[in-house]
């Protein structure tokens, strides 16, 4: 029996389990590619518009970071540029998740042991996981190329683009394979893999934003960019990615041979033996959910930085009217002198609709606590059901506020530095961002009511509430020129801090009252129903 015996069987098992996952990633990759082409066709339909767009890119480091400095006024090049390497990242992300799912997560669940006790070689599981992940990446890249050729893009460049997408997946499948050997559990392995991905992306972005080209060669995501599809197709860069993937895979197999099943090469960090700060439901909720809040804060700050980074663009557009300006202004329906304020408000709205998802997810966590029996353990103590729920609500409410405050603070500060004035702009941005908090609370309160009254259907309802809020809202509709927001969603009533009209307190107070009512109803229902 060789060390690879059973690889075929395990690969089939992994494929069976990927059936519900991999197709979505492949669909995402392909549709992203198509979206980018459609985007360029819609917004930069003519050669003149493309040239104007190139002018904008040349003057803005944030835009240069997005997809690189060498852009040409051609559909293919602009579409790949505009994707910002997102296809590479998606392919890599999917590969990391897939490899960890079929290696370390299997060991965590104890299934790995069951499998390894059968006629299966030591290396079969890892080999099968790598085969499946690499196969999915290849399929994603290939389909992207085929579809792009199908809509009439240049065939050779499309193949190079697809190949660059596939090898990004290969490299990160290798990274995840090594991470799965190092870590003691799937969570840590995923974290290691995704951290490498994040660092790769940031390095590549920094390289393009700053013009330090050599930095791109240090980033695995950069290697895919360096293939330069539709430009000069440097095929040999694909070789570098493939070689790196092979070296990583071989390294993972070497590490695998040196460790026990279930063991990792990095020691599992011990926790603390005592918990002096865990005093009640609120401190417990904070402890449980602070990780999620930290991730959200990082995400919001990142988006706010990018939004602020693009604001010089607005100023430049104002001083140099062009077709693009007319286009954007037409979409937003605004006079030229309110361009910057309108842009900022639009960005804050996007952030606000996104942040509204946070209380929704926190409500789902409440449900998860109930389903797992952990909430029961708390409620079997002197803590009442309402105090248990209140602990989560305090963290959720304050967390939502903190997220919007962070958004306003980061956005406002960088905006002031780049194009504005700290003393007048920062308060305006903060007020604008915090003004959206009651609406986000209201979305969360509605979800809580669903959880309290219809716990079984609450997950579906929660997601539907958020999706409807976002779709009916002031961001999605105008983007496609469809509708100007609906009075049915709470963000319709938040004050626009950038508008000339003074802020009226009435709608906000009404929003708070509705939120309080929903919250009260939810807590009453929660207290009265069966639990668990």
């Amino acid at each position: 029996m060789s060390a690879l015996t059973g690889t075929g069987h395990l690969a089939r098992l992994a494929l069976r389990r990927e059936r519900a996952i991999a197709p979505w990633w492949i669909l995402l990759t392909v549709s992203l590619a198509l979206t980018m082409v459609a985007y360029v066709n819609k917004n930069m339909g003519t050669y003149e518009l493309k040239l104007a767009y190139l002018d904008i890119i040349r003057d803005n480091a944030f835009l240069q970071g997005l997809g690189g400095r060498s852009v040409e006024p051609r559909l293919e090049v602009l579409a790949t540029w505009r994707s910002g390497g997102f296809l590479y990242v998606a392919s890599a992300f999917a590969a990391v998740m897939s490899v960890v799912r079929h290696t370390r997560a299997e060991e965590d669940a104890g299934r790995g042991e069951l499998v390894r006790s059968a006629v299966v070689g030591r290396h079969a599981q890892l080999a099968a996981a790598l085969l499946v992940a690499a196969g999915s990446s290849l399929l994603g890249g290939l389909l992207t190329a085929v579809v792009l050729i199908g809509i009439g893009l240049e065939p050779v460049g499309s193949l190079a683009y697809g190949a660059a997408v596939a090898v990004a997946g290969w490299v990160f499948a290798g990274v995840a394979a090594v991470a799965a050997q190092l870590a003691r559990n799937a969570r840590t392995a995923t974290t290691i893999g995704l951290s490498v991905l994040a660092v790769s992306y940031v390095m590549r972005y920094a390289a393009d934003a700053s013009g330090q080209d050599w930095l791109r060669y240090l980033s695995p995501i950069g290697w895919s960019h360096l293939v330069r599809p539709y430009q000069d197709e440097r095929w040999w860069m694909l070789g570098i990615s493939a070689l790196a993937a092979a070296v990583l895979a071989a390294g993972a197999h070497r590490l695998l041979a040196r460790r026990d099943l279930g063991a990792g090469l990095l020691p599992e960090r011990l926790g603390r033996a005592r918990a002096p700060e865990l005093r009640g439901p609120t401190s417990l909720a904070w402890r449980l959910h602070r990780g999620l809040l930290a991730k959200w804060t990082a995400g919001v700050a990142f988006f706010a930085l990018a939004a602020a980074g693009l604001s010089p663009l607005g100023r430049d557009l104002l001083s140099r009217p062009s077709l693009v300006v007319d286009n954007i202004r037409h979409t937003l329906g605004l006079p030229a002198d309110e361009m910057l304020g309108a842009y900022s408000w639009y960005m804050i709205l996007i952030l606000a609709y996104a942040v509204a998802l946070y209380p929704v997810l926190m409500t789902l966590r409440l449900r998860a606590e109930e389903m797992s029996g952990r909430a029961e353990a708390v409620q079997a103590t002197a803590v009442t059901r309402l105090r248990w729920a209140a602990g989560h609500l305090v963290v959720t409410g304050l967390g939502t506020t903190a997220l919007m405050a962070a958004a306003g603070l980061v956005f406002g500060t960088l905006y002031s530095v780049l194009v504005g004035d700290l003393a007048t702009d920062l308060p305006r941005f903060l007020a604008g961002a915090l003004g959206a908090v009651p609406a986000a609370w209201c979305v969360g309160a509605l979800c809580l009511l669903a959880y309290a009254v219809l716990p079984r259907a609450s997950a579906a309802i929660c997601w539907a509430v958020w999706v409807l809020t976002a779709v009916l809202g002031q961001v999605a509709g105008p983007l496609y020129g469809q509708w100007g927001g609906s009075p049915l969603e709470p963000f319709h009533y938040i004050p626009n801090a950038f508008a000339a009209t003074p802020v009226a307190a009435g709608p906000v107070l009404a929003l708070l009252a509705v939120t309080a009512l929903l919250l009260g109803g939810a807590l009453l229902a929660l207290r009265r129903r069966d639990f668990g």
């Binding site: 599992e268 011990l270 926790g271 029996g373 708390v378 409620q379 079997a380 002197a382």
Partner: protein
């Protein structure tokens, strides 16, 4: 004797399923009470009703003199609960969970905490996600046993423990018993555990109480196994009332006898001449099996013996 738990005619339905169907349960203060029943009999539903997680549809339930639904939090100050399937917060260490649960209950005996950690051989610094089922159970048990409470509600607390740890658990429960003022409701599958620890037991089936009483009292209702080596052939034995499942092999006989008819049967054996005799009281297992082997029967025999 006052009553720590008193449940009469409890009914709880989930949709069309009747999980509890007029259940009765009485647990006196200071006793260790075994709560037996097959899977799905309604043990956990009863316990979760007593904890105020579920609201009863009919019947009354009193816990430590209070109403488990309306006075849940005040009552919970005086009890500790170990669920059958312990799930913990994966990112917290075992020690943190013990501290948290103890503090939420209103305090924890530091000395006892350290002692129990030692006895159960648990590393409190490990993250809960790395614990096995048995270790998660230990965390919940230590948190419960280290709390200074009047009532312990334990729902199949030893299912994940190895025999060594099971013994540690039994010893800990015996200590509680010796204090005299602590009541323990022990739901269990492990009959040996119940036989060893419990003063009284309640057996339920399909959401109803089928037996309740002291073990001695319950045994009285059932059969004693007898194995005898006789001087003469066992003539007439089969005809005696209360004799069941008689098997003869030469001069040796094996049979079960209803405990109430034990005396005339023994007299008959003595008349035949006894060379050797082994008699065994019914085990809880036999008691248990008698109720659950009986298919279709409503099993509504309520033995009020032993109180």
């Amino acid at each position: 004797m006052s009553e720590a738990i008193s449940v009469t005619g409890l009914v709880k339905t989930f949709g069309t399923t009747r999980a509890l169907d007029g259940l009765d349960l009485v647990v006196g203060t200071g006793e260790v009470h075994g709560f037996l029943g097959p899977n799905g009999a309604g043990k956990s539903t009863t316990i979760r009703t007593l904890l105020g997680m579920l609201r009863a549809d009919a019947g009354t339930a009193r816990l430590l003199g209070g109403d488990p639904w309306t006075e849940a939090a005040e009552l919970h100050r005086r009890l500790a609960y170990v669920p059958g399937d312990v799930t913990l917060w994966p990112q917290l260490s075992g020690g943190e969970v013990i501290d948290l649960l103890g503090r939420l209950r209103g305090g924890l005996d530091e000395h006892r905490r350290a002692e129990l950690l030692e006895r159960f051989d648990l590393d409190p610094r490990k993250k809960s996600r790395t614990y096995s089922k048995g270790n998660r159970q230990k965390v919940a048990l230590i948190a419960a046993l280290a709390s200074d409470v009047e009532l312990l509600i334990l729902d199949e607390p030893t299912t994940g423990l190895d025999p060594l740890m099971e013994e540690v658990f039994r010893e800990a429960v015996r200590e509680e018993q010796r204090r005299g003022d602590r009541t323990v409701l022990l739901s269990s599958h492990i009959l040996a555990e119940v036989e060893e620890l419990c003063d009284r037991v309640t057996i339920i089936k399909d959401g109803r109480t089928v037996e309740s009483g002291t073990l001695a009292g319950l045994r009285h209702l059932t059969r004693t196994s007898v194995q005898a080596d006789l001087a003469a052939p066992a003539d007439g034995l089969a005809g005696l009332p209360g004799v069941h499942e008689l098997r003869t092999e030469g001069s040796r006989v094996w049979f079960d006898v209803d405990t109430a008819d034990l005396d005339p049967v023994l007299r008959h054996l003595a008349d035949l001449g006894v060379r050797g005799l082994v008699s065994r009281p019914p085990t809880l297992e036999e008691l248990f099996l008698r109720h659950y082997d009986r298919t279709g029967g409503s099993g509504g025999r309520h033995a009020g013996a032993g109180r």
